[in-house]
């Protein structure tokens, strides 16, 4: 008897978004539990904000205060290693993520077997160890920890300003906008031939219900990111 076809779940994301770190870890845990084909789609959050005419939530002071508390409580409960950067405004609004997005794109185009772990290592830099993710040396360090051979990492890093890589990042960003995205993460689950877009890290139980899968909570026992 043939096994039922895996449902495709596209995970559009930018490592600049702290709630995306939560959603990413939980979705990676559920890869083992659900009959899904999880496709990581690195995009450019700044492009999403522009395309949707949106603003980062942290620009409302009372919201920014709340987000800090909310992230601390959720990451504790989900067992995701997390520390807010010492200067979140600088990290999120000034330094940004264009190089990281392009590097993730280059890896996705050439050796996507490393994409998950590279994503994890970049999140650990920005949202656990308060380390830079914009400089080439930072991206190399993340690549090494992700197990990408040094020569390959250097070669991919040299391509991040290539038109092909820029175009691919732009296309992925546009694909998310076409699904109605206005932030990160944007998860598109293909259910009964229809794309269902879910925004954020707090629709996973609902998504499970629609996928016909069982929700077990955040599954901290399956944590891959170690402190």
């Amino acid at each position: 008897m043939a096994a039922p076809a895996r449902k495709s779940v596209e995970f559009f994301y930018d490592v600049l978004s702290p709630y995306t770190w939560l959603a990413f870890e939980v979705m990676c845990r559920y890869q083992q539990k659900w009959n899904i084909d999880l496709k990581l789609r690195p995009f450019f959050l700044s492009g999403i904000m522009q395309g949707a005419d949106n603003r980062p939530p942290g620009m409302v002071p009372a919201k920014a205060t709340y987000m800090g508390q909310d992230l601390r409580r959720l990451t504790d409960m989900y067992q995701v290693p997390f520390n807010m950067p010492s200067n979140p405004a600088e990290v999120m609004f000034i330094k940004g993520s264009i190089n990281a997005g392009r590097f993730l794109t280059a890896v996705d185009m050439n050796c996507d077997q490393y994409l998950e772990e590279l994503t994890r290592q970049l999140f650990l830099r920005i949202y656990y160890r308060d380390e830079d993710i914009t400089e080439p040396a930072s991206l190399m360090a993340a690549a090494t920890k992700a197990g990408i051979p040094e020569d390959l990492a250097k070669q991919l890093l040299s391509t991040i300003k290539d038109q092909a890589v820029k175009d691919q990042l732009r296309q992925t960003t546009q694909a998310a906008l076409d699904h109605g995205a206005f932030g990160s993460p944007t998860i598109v689950a293909h259910i009964d031939g229809k794309p269902q877009m879910f925004f954020g890290s707090d629709r996973l139980e609902l998504m499970a219900h629609m996928l016909g899968e069982k929700w077990y909570g955040p599954l901290p026992e399956l944590a891959k990111a170690k402190m």
């Binding site: 949707a52 005419d53 949106n54 409302v60 002071p61 009372a62 919201k63 205060t65 709340y66 508390q69 909310d70 409580r73 959720l74 409960m77 109605g180 995205a181 206005f182 269902q196 877009m197 925004f199 954020g200 707090d202 629709r203 139980e205 609902l206 219900h209 629609m210 929700w215 909570g217």
Partner: protein, 250 residues
Amino acid sequence: MGFIPVFMMYAAGWRRSILKFSRSSKMAALRSRKVVELFYDVISPYSWVAFEVLCRYRSRWNIDLQLRPFFIGGVFKETGNKPPGLLAAKYAYAQHDLRRLADFYKIPVKMPPMERLMRRENVNSNRLLTAVNLDCPQHLENLSRELWMRVMSRDQDISDPASLETAAAAAGIPSGTTPQLLGRIRDDDVKAALKDTTNQALAYGAFGAPTIVAHVEGTPVMIWGSDRFPLLAHMLGERWEGPLREMAKY
């Protein structure tokens, strides 16, 4: 046979001890109920979701649910936040999101046009809820639900006194009481109470609706939105058992 009366006396003694124990632990449970305040506005669709979920969990969790009708307009003004539905991409998403949540939670919520939600006179609803909370709080839950059914399911007005009269009747408020309650909308003490409740939410750090404040071991924990119930359960030392559709009022 002698054994049976002895056994029955023995069992009766056990029963008395068990009753005494359960009464005292009921008392202990009542004393230790954790207060959970729900600050809500009927023009907030996600407030309806939070309201129904907390009403369902009132009998499952050891909580004392306190309904706090407030004025989201005042919160937006004070914090510089804006209604999310004013952004086209967010409004479109809210329509899909609420349709799916309606199925998931079995609540007939449907995003109305923003024009319906942005009417200045909607504050009459907030004031009516405040008056009911002051004068006859036993009707607060039903009236809240009926106002949501109007504005957030049938796209009906909730700003005009005639609309509010219809809602009050549908909520089971005696027709003799209604004219007086509607008159209270203009009273200074009602306006002040609405402002006061709104300021309490702001003091907890609110910037939107719903705002849930759980009092855990003497500390208020503020949670925003209708999608943190598993976290709320965790903080209350309770278990999240999902949407509990079987308890839906619809």
